[in-house]
């Protein structure tokens, strides 16, 4: 059986490292060392997460940046 590949994209935003891991069956995001649980809207496919419950994002990268912004504003 062919091994499923995973792609990892790392960016730095406002001095915080954001890692986005995309596999064929899973997607995950880490902000610094913290894993963020995200899911997708059933109809639109936009990304959502518990920490920002009333926001939706087109990409995990946008979600990650918004998370960093929200941590900074607290």
């Amino acid at each position: 059986m062919a091994r499923k590949s995973k792609n990892s994209k790392k960016i730095e935003y406002r001095n915080v490292k954001i890692e986005i891991i995309s596999g064929q069956t899973e997607e995950a995001i880490k902000i610094g060392s913290k894993g963020i649980e995200s899911s997708r809207d059933a109809d639109t496919g936009t990304y959502v997460c518990d920490e920002l419950p009333y926001q939706t994002f087109g990409t995990l990268e946008e979600l990650g940046k918004a998370f960093v912004d929200s941590e900074d504003s607290d």
């Binding site: 899911s39 997708r40 809207d41 059933a42 109809d43 639109t44 936009t46 959502v48 518990d50 419950p53 009333y54 926001q55 939706t56």
Partner: protein, 450 residues
């Protein structure tokens, strides 16, 4: 038929009754606990965002059940308010569809309370019914339960409400209402610039998963429900609820929605002990609640809805008759005989007359295996309410308050005709051998009409 009115149109007397009922729920605590009936609603909303078991993920947001779940949720809240004051109905916050004054007029002390302005955070509400510090309008204060806080003990809102660009508009909502397909209508209403935007622009506590800590949540979702009801007029029938059946378990037309799912799922959030105990038969599916009028309410501007002031809505008239609360308690410290179905009984006599509007029963039992126990309340007329039916397994002790919200049998006793005055009995039996315990104390509070 309950008439849900525009919050901006409520009289001062109607606002007072509504907010007093809300405050009463917030200050109706379980015996020996700082958990109130209001807090349980908040806990449900926190818990539904993370489910495991038959369902996974969020059972109430970002999926088809968003509208149905919140319809049931705010309806139960409204029914809880009506146990306090039968003349109260949920008002709707007419954002987007009404003039801006329908929004700005709400944020004053004697209505839903002001925006944030003070406290240590600079965002706390410092006056009105929702101020943390007791005041003349709410001598009890409003403190968020410690396990349901994200900001602080006092309720917080943004210091100003941005109703500029991006705020819901009649044109935008009209576009959403014009969507023919449910899968486009639902996210259009749930997402920006509508439901989500209102949460975020209120900010602070309203922008968190525990957003029902702010009572304006219920006015906000009443408006969401009203817009869905409008859409349903043009798109009637169950076939227009997510017709393709997409979405996870719990979101489809005939799925059970947690927590009204007979125990199929459970929350993964750390608020389990704050949740009400729901009967296994308390099951709700989206298909059950598509017709809001069949649930007993309508909106004041929809065709055929009784107009205000006809005596069967949310109180367009004068002051209500005050219900009377009858209370009693006893500490019998009775041994519950092991594995004897005949059990033991303890009585409390309440002096007074009137039909039961609400019942609260608090029980303190020590026992080493509560799954052995069956607890039944017996009314003066001989009606019975099964409060505990050999559930809970090997858990120790029962210290719990039963209400119509968490006991279907108690709810039945409030439907009319049950006499509140007289001798109430509590019967407890142990139905398996070995483990034993005692009925330490119990109390009953019955609200009756006069």
């Amino acid at each position: 038929m309950n008439v849900r009115k525009n919050a901006a149109s409520l009289s001062d007397a109607e606002w007072r009754r509504f907010m007093q009922a809300v405050v009463k729920l917030k200050h109706t605590f379980y015996a020996g606990s700082d958990l109130s009936l209001y807090d349980q609603f908040v806990a449900i909303h926190v818990a539904v965002r993370g489910l495991g078991g038959a369902q996974s993920g969020d059972g109430a947001h970002n999926g088809a059940a968003f509208l149905a779940w919140h319809r049931e949720y705010i309806r139960r809240f409204e029914k809880a308010l009506q146990l306090v004051d039968p003349q109260v109905s949920l008002p709707y916050w007419n954002w987007g569809l009404g003039p801006l004054s329908d929004t700005t007029s709400l944020f004053v002390d004697n209505r839903i309370g002001p925006l944030g302005s003070g406290g240590n955070s600079g965002f706390e509400i410092v006056s009105g019914y929702l101020a943390r510090t007791p005041n003349s309008i709410n001598p009890l204060g409003w403190v968020i339960h410690p396990q349901l806080r994200v900001q602080g003990a006092g309720l917080q809102r943004n210091r100003s409400l941005d109703t500029g660009p991006g705020w819901p508009t009649a044109v935008g909502i009209g576009n959403v209402l014009g969507q023919v397909v449910f899968q486009l209508f639902r996210p259009g209403l749930e997402g920006a610039p509508n439901h989500n935007t209102v949460h975020n622009r209120m900010g602070r506590d309203m922008a968190a998963a525990s957003s029902p800590n702010d009572p304006i949540f219920f006015l906000h979702h009443c408006q969401v429900d009203r817009i869905w009801a409008k859409w349903q007029v043009d798109h009637p029938g169950g076939a227009n609820y997510n017709p393709l059946g997409s979405g996870g378990q719990g979101h489809r037309l005939n799925d059970r929605m947690w927590p009204w799912d007979g125990g199929d799922s459970e929350t993964t959030r750390a608020v389990t002990e704050l949740l009400p105990g729901l009967a296994a038969t308390d099951i709700v599916q989206p298909v059950d609640i598509l017709d809001h009028r069949s649930l007993g309410y309508c909106y004041d501007d929809e065709p055929g809805c009784p107009c205000a002031g006809n005596g069967n809505n949310n109180g367009g008239g004068g002051e209500p008759q005050q219900p009377i609360v009858l209370r009693g308690e006893t500490r019998p410290n009775l041994i519950i005989p092991d594995n004897v179905p005949q059990g033991v009984a303890s009585n409390i006599t309440l002096n007074g007359n009137g039909s039961v509007l609400n019942i609260t029963v608090s029980v303190e039992i020590t026992h080493t295996w509560i799954g052995d126990l069956r607890i039944t309340l017996i009314s003066p007329d001989g009606l019975t309410a099964l409060l505990h039916d050999q559930n809970g397994g090997d858990t120790n002790d029962i210290r719990r308050t039963f209400t119509p919200t968490n006991s279907a049998d108690l709810a039945n006793m409030t439907q009319g005709g049950v006499q509140g005055g007289g001798t109430w009995g509590l019967h407890i039996s142990d139905n398996a051998n070995r483990d034993t315990g005692r009925l330490i104390s119990w109390s009953i509070e019955v609200t009756v009409s006069v």
